[in-house]
């Protein structure tokens, strides 16, 4: 194909497609309990109504249901399925590819649910091309936004939900360069953690660093009197014993104090650095970094849990570093527990903050999330393909972001909260090694109907990954919760 199409001709051809409707999709499989279980595992969602028939029977749903964020995955074609020639979006994307707009990212997904769907139901959707934007210069590249609307129905024609979906189809390599430092300002130091000062290790503290390599948080414990000592010491000041062992701490604790270095800036860190003095639940304290939070989210007393930064490789510039690899303990906000007793609308007020929720972004999460949402696009599982497409590594698909968003809000609201809508907008991509940090607050609440809107953000090291809203119905005093579902 050629990319010499005149822009005006291209836009005219694209606009001609707007309003066209495709035929209903032909689903190959019904909503499936096994895939729901895979999805729950990938998202870390322990909501019982998706996997536990007894709990589901006792819930507002009266039986097993599929997570609402999965509405648009069931009629996908799968690995071997080519793009449908009948799809209006498919036709628009083909035109754009022919014109050189070969890369694609999803930017908006807005799901509205009339009801939850159940295992065994066969879903299909009818797609309408809603809009094609003019050519836009974006951070990723020059491209067009393509918006479709999808109406989801069961085999017997019941309309169960709608999706608004928007992608950016862009020319790789045409993005705006990242804003540089100000005129005359020194460049920021290289943030590669391998450039951080290495810890000095000797016979008295090597157990700690050996543990760190195994992702164990070891705290010295006296074998004479069981007292914990951090930093470690060869002799117990309490009982006098030289016989010192260690325990593996749970990794749970809270922020006892913090400092935020901004000057001078040295290699190996991103500034401002969030340094915490962490008090473990076992009692010992240690200095570490607080990750997955912004400066504004730091507060003395906040619950934390350990995570690990494999900071210094065993090999440095091709030579094996005799000092060995180094792993540093880090602390992120403690994963909020899933609420067992559902919040009532009367318990919620506008402005209430949801707890912070920091998700480590791993290759496993990205790949498992993509496959659990039946998204076989190569950039979500094949690093080489992602690099060829101009990305430093694989990145998370929008359905995984949507799934984590749903888990964040339903874990906070409780098992009988009913999701009515999930609307997200994506920004900075989620690559392995990053942390996706959710925060949110209640935007509105209607005590009469139980309708609650939660506004949320998910930030990573590159910026805002996701912003969005989730609409829920919470139990009210006047409406029995069984009503909420059907």
């Amino acid at each position: 194909m050629t990319d010499t199409t005149e822009p005006d001709d291209l836009l005219a051809a694209l606009r001609a497609l707007v309003g066209t409707e495709g035929p209903p999709t032909t689903p190959r499989h019904p909503v499936d309990e096994t895939l729901v279980a895979h999805w729950c595992d990938a998202m870390g969602d322990d909501h019982p109504v998706y996997v536990d028939p007894d709990a589901a029977a006792a819930s507002v749903h009266g039986g097993l249901v599929a997570p609402p964020a999965t509405l648009d995955i069931w009629d996908r074609g799968g690995l071997k399925h080519a793009r449908s020639a009948d799809s209006p979006r498919g036709r628009a994307l083909a035109l754009l590819e022919a014109a050189g707009f070969t890369s694609v990212v999803a930017v908006n997904s807005e799901l509205e649910l009339r009801r939850y769907v159940r295992p065994g139901e066969l879903l299909s959707n009818v797609e309408i091309l809603d809009a094609v934007s003019e050519e836009k210069a974006t951070g990723l590249g020059v491209g067009h936004f393509v918006t479709t609307r999808h109406r989801y129905s069961t085999a017997d024609g019941e309309h169960v939900g709608d999706l608004l979906f928007r992608v950016l189809k862009f020319k790789p390599g045409t993005g705006r360069p990242a804003p540089g430092p100000g005129e005359g300002a020194p460049p920021p130091p290289d943030p590669d953690p391998a450039l951080r000062p290495r810890p000095a290790i000797n016979l008295d503290n090597e157990f700690f660093w050996e543990g760190a390599r195994r992702h164990e948080l070891r705290i010295q414990q006296c074998r004479g009197c069981q007292a914990l000592h951090n930093p470690p010491t060869p002799r117990c000041p309490d009982c006098g014993s030289f016989d010192q062992g260690w325990i593996v701490a749970s990794g749970r604790g809270h922020l006892y104090s913090f400092a935020v270095p901004r000057y001078p800036q040295v290699r190996g860190f991103r500034y401002p650095v969030l340094v915490g003095l962490v008090e473990l639940e076992e009692g010992a304290r240690l200095v570490s970094n607080v990750v997955g939070v912004t400066r504004e989210q730091l507060s003395v007393g906040m619950p934390l849990e350990v995570c690990w930064l494999d900071s210094h490789p065993a090999q440095v510039e091709g030579e094996t570093d005799a000092r060995g690899p180094i792993t540093l303990p880090q602390f992120r906000p403690a994963t909020p527990p899933r609420r067992e007793a559902t919040l009532a609308a009367a318990d919620v007020a506008e402005g209430d903050a949801l707890p912070l929720f920091a998700v480590p972004v791993t290759t496993t999460l990205i790949v498992a999330g993509a496959l659990a949402t039946r998204d076989f696009t190569d950039v979500h599982h094949d690093r080489d393909a992602a690099v060829r497409a101009g990305s430093p590594d694989v990145f998370m698909n929008i359905n995984t972001t949507l799934g984590l968003t749903e888990r964040y809000v339903t874990d906070w609201a409780g098992p009988d909260a009913v999701v009515r809508a999930l609307r997200v907008r994506l920004g900075a991509p989620n690559h392995p090694g990053d942390i996706l940090a959710f925060s949110g607050s209640v935007q509105s609440v209607d005590p009469a109907t139980g309708a609650v809107v939660v506004a949320l953000q998910g930030a990573n090291g590159l910026g805002a990954h996701v912003t969005g809203t989730v609409e829920l119905t919470l139990p009210t005093a006047s409406t029995p919760t069984q009503e909420a579902s059907r």
Partner: protein
């Protein structure tokens, strides 16, 4: 009850300093020698009479070089105190003990460096090679996490103070404002005629939150020397003697070098409390007997718990003591009348001892009426030291 035998029987007979600058243009050894010569001139003592030298382990000027260049024929006492800025009053204590024991007649205490134009402490410890000693290993618990400078270590304590006692950045700022107001009338001060407002403090850039730039002491090139001898000898010298009424070093349980983060409480300075107990027990005096104080101010937050450890106010109440104007000239306890290390210069606390001497002599540019007993403290966050000086 502890009573140090040298207390009340030893004295400071002379003080001497170089100018305090950002670029001395001279070697650190030369700065040390100029300060020593000035202190000897102040007292009217000849270099040959000196038989003892005391300084900091961090000082780069060996006693052998100082001795040679001063033309001293014999030394019978030479000693050093460790732990950086915690040392100043400790060197005077060692000198006083040596004099009282008859080991030396005149002991010069000195500290000199090009801390601005040469090695700057504020740049941090990121370039330290990780070795195997206990001192090096201690950095393993902080450096890999980006806590690399004195300001960053102090900031950790400051945040906790703010949390527990409701101390604010403005409370820290009031210390800086008082220091700079005092410096503004001190021609020796780097910030002579340059007072600041609380607004200036609040608007100054972050160094390490919660510390602003104006919470941090200067970086200074200079030298300061203090001449110690017996009270009896001092009576016959050029200046009226300033009596060492008490001198103390202090370390407390679970002490770490500026990083005592692992104690049950981190909002106090128990090592300064160890000094305070000795000073009051030795002198038989108490906070009500003290008219002015030189309180170590490398960073403003630790001025607060020092006032509490010495009993000028109750624990957690220093912020109110300061906000009520007590540390200003005309207040209950004017603090750092020379401008402190934020205003005059950062000489690892040695210039503060000189100001204590001037207050007792009645020669300070910001003289406090009836300054009979003057407290001087050493560095905070580190094992430290303190002095109580008084008129003969």
């Amino acid at each position: 009850m502890t009573a140090h035998a040298y207390a009340g029987r030893t004295a400071i007979a002379g003080i001497g300093a170089t100018e305090f600058s950002k670029r001395s243009g001279r070697s650190e050894l030369r700065l040390a020698l100029e300060a020593c010569v000035a202190a000897l001139d102040d007292a009217g003592v000849a270099p040959e009479q000196v038989s003892g030298l005391s300084t900091f382990t961090m000082d780069t000027n060996p006693e052998s070089d100082v001795m040679r260049s001063l033309g001293i024929k014999e030394l019978t006492h030479f000693s050093r105190v460790h732990f950086g800025g915690g040392a100043p009053c400790g060197t005077v204590q060692l000198a006083a003990m040596a004099v009282h024991e008859g080991v030396a007649d005149y002991v010069l205490c000195y500290r000199a460096f090009n801390e601005r134009s040469g090695h700057r402490f504020g740049t941090g410890v990121q370039d330290r090679v990780p070795g195997h000693t206990a001192e090096e290993v201690a950095y393993a618990w902080t450096s890999p996490f980006g806590l690399l400078t004195p300001a960053s270590w102090i900031a950790m304590f400051a945040t906790r103070m703010m949390h527990e006692f409701g101390v604010t950045s403005e409370d820290f700022g009031r210390v800086a404002v008082a220091d700079r107001r005092h410096a503004a009338t001190n021609p020796r001060a780097w910030f002579y005629e340059q007072p600041i407002t609380l607004e200036d403090h609040q608007n100054s850039r972050w160094i390490v939150e919660p510390l602003h730039l104006l919470d941090c002491c200067q970086e200074t090139d200079g030298g300061q020397a203090i001449l110690v001898t017996s009270l009896e000898r001092a009576r016959d010298l050029r200046r009226p003697p300033v009596v060492i009424e008490g001198a103390a070093q202090g370390m407390a349980e679970d002490q770490q070098m500026m990083r005592s983060f692992f104690r049950d409480e981190i909002t106090g300075l128990p090592e300064m409390g160890v000094c305070a107990r000795q000073i009051w027990e030795t002198s038989g005096l108490g906070p009500d007997d003290v008219q002015t104080a030189v309180v170590y101010d490398h960073f403003t937050p630790f001025v607060l718990p020092q006032l509490e450890e010495f009993g000028f106010c109750a624990r957690g109440e220093a912020k109110d003591f300061i906000a009520d104007g007590n540390i200003e000239l005309g207040g209950r306890l004017p603090v750092n009348t020379h401008g402190g290390q934020l205003g005059e210069g950062y000489l690892h606390g040695m210039n503060g001892i000189a100001e204590g001497v001037r207050q007792v002599r009645g020669t300070s540019v910001n003289q406090v009426d009836g300054a009979e007993h003057v407290l001087v403290t050493g560095g905070t966050g580190v094992p430290t030291s303190a002095l109580l000086l008084g008129a003969a």
